[in-house]
């Protein structure tokens, strides 16, 4: 395991006390984001997202399967994220651990609960045949803030997905029906300071983490608080506001990168 030196914690805290961060960003400022789409031609949709040095690839595969019995006219979505040992000296091979499972579930919820994919339009034959959408997320390089990188990559991949109807002989290909997606922004707290888009160093000194997904109207669509520490109510309200502001900018960039 990589050990975080205690003087690093003290240094980050000292800087933060003066309103500064190690890489000169503001507390409410993201690192540069790049979004590339259609990076995997075997996938129905794909994207590579970089936030600073963090790098994530998401690929969408679709197949025809059976619906769940409680939603016989609805498509099915499955999200899986892998923290493969490629991305960090601290990630181990093997079945997904808690951290990877939390990541998959948070990304999944952000998409599922806001009905980004219009699953009701993915029915081929009620009770018999529906589309199954697999969202697979590969972490390639880990420098903090996987939540936002992973969910952004998943969204960009979904927004460029073509339903392979032709291949499955159920009609002509068409773009995956998508609604306006919420954008997720993660903040962490250390030594009483709250910063958005934590670098790995900041994440490793963090006591508490809060992910907020907001939509184009500035409404809140999903949240996840993590780690042992706590937030005050005021801090949470502030995090929501910076998440709305950053979410707006990121959404514009996302639309541009998928050609919408």
């Amino acid at each position: 395991m990589t050990i975080t030196p205690s003087i690093k914690r003290e240094y980050l805290a000292k800087l933060a006390g003066q309103g500064k961060r190690e890489d000169d960003r503001g507390f409410d400022e993201f690192r540069p984001i790049t979004i590339e789409t259609n990076v995997i031609s075997k996938a129905e949709g794909s994207a590579r997202v970089k936030i600073g040095n963090t790098q994530v690839v998401a690929g969408i595969k679709m197949s025809v399967g059976e619906p769940y019995s409680d939603s016989p006219e609805s498509g099915v979505m499955v999200t899986a994220a892998e923290l493969i040992p490629l991305a960090s000296p601290d990630f181990e091979a093997g079945p997904p651990r808690e951290k990877a499972i939390e990541l998959s579930r948070v990304v999944d919820r952000g998409i599922r609960e806001s009905e980004v994919i219009e699953l009701d339009k993915l029915c081929i034959e009620p009770k018999e045949k529906v589309w199954v959408v697999f969202i697979d997320i590969h972490i390639i390089d880990y420098d903090g803030n996987l939540f936002d990188a992973a969910s952004l990559a998943a969204l960009a991949a979904l927004m460029t997905t073509t339903v392979p109807a032709n291949n499955f002989e159920v009609g002509d290909d068409y773009p995956l029906p998508i609604k306006e997606p919420p954008v997720s922004c993660t903040s962490v707290k250390f030594n009483g300071n709250v910063v958005i888009d934590p670098s790995l160093d900041e994440e490793e000194t963090a006591e508490a983490r809060l992910t907020v997904a907001t939509d184009q109207n500035g409404d809140i669509r999903a949240m996840q608080k993590g780690l042992n520490g706590s937030f005050t109510v005021d801090e949470i309200k502030k995090v929501i506001n910076t998440s709305i502001d950053n979410g707006k900018k990121i959404r514009e960039q996302l639309y541009k990168s998928v050609g919408k």
């Binding site: 050990i3 690093k8 003066q18």
Partner: protein, 225 residues
């Protein structure tokens, strides 16, 4: 100052023959031929062919001064990460304090940083370090940055010339571990300058006349302030 290029060599590259030259660091010999074993820079000194590595793990040697980060305190020793392939052992006999059995945590705990000296490297590469020497202690304040271990000699400079320059102009305290960790303490602007300059030295480590170039730069910047 010459601007001639330095030659980058890669493993398996033929560099010469043992009948003309001798195989130095970063090389190996097969059938009288000398090959590079590393990604590095070719350095021919008198009869020796050496390859100075560009990248790679720190390989500890006895008497190296290193910066360690304490990993696990055990009952009569600590396991310390010194950026080598293996953790190093620091025994309670090798520290300047009287440590009672089982009370190691009171003195050094996970995440604490120390300036240490490599005491022993055995056949199986089991490592031991010591704090029993001049100027070795637990680090307080400041910050650590990582550099390529192979570039440490450039950062220190000939007889410490580069590091003296940095200390003189930035008024920072700086300690460069042989293991690619650098500790810096001082005012914030100074620390920033040291970090930027060290990154520049790392980037341009192969260019000739680097020390004078850095001196010019520091002179200019600190006159402006």
């Amino acid at each position: 100052m010459t601007d001639e290029k330095r030659e980058i060599v890669i493993p398996s590259q033929l560099l010469g023959e043992t009948k003309d030259k001798r195989a130095g660091d970063g090389t190996f010999v097969e059938d009288g031929k000398i090959y590079s074993s590393l990604l590095g820079v070719l350095n021919i000194r008198q009869q020796f062919i050496n390859v100075v590595p560009l990248k790679g793990r720190y390989e500890p040697s006895e008497r190296d001064f290193v910066i360690g980060i304490v990993d696990i305190p055990m009952s009569s020793s600590w396991l310390v990460d010194i950026n080598a392939p293996y953790p190093a052992l620091l025994h309670v006999n090798e520290v300047p304090w009287d440590v009672e059995f089982g009370e190691t945590e009171k003195y050094l705990n996970n995440g604490d940083c120390i300036m240490a000296k490599v005491l022993q490297v055995d056949q199986e590469k089991k490592l031991q370090i010591t704090l029993n020497d001049r100027n070795l202690y637990k680090i307080k304040g400041g910050l650590l940055i990582d550099v390529e271990p192979s570039k440490v000699p450039r950062i220190i400079g000939k007889k410490g010339s580069m590091i003296s320059l940095l200390k003189q102009y930035t008024k920072c305290r700086i300690f460069v571990g042989q293991n690619g960790r650098v500790w810096i303490d001082g005012d914030e602007q100074g620390i920033k300058k040291v970090i930027d300059t060290i990154k520049q030295i790392e980037r341009e480590s192969l260019s000739y006349g680097l020390t004078s170039k850095i001196e010019e730069m520091l002179k200019k910047e600190f006159k402006d302030v």
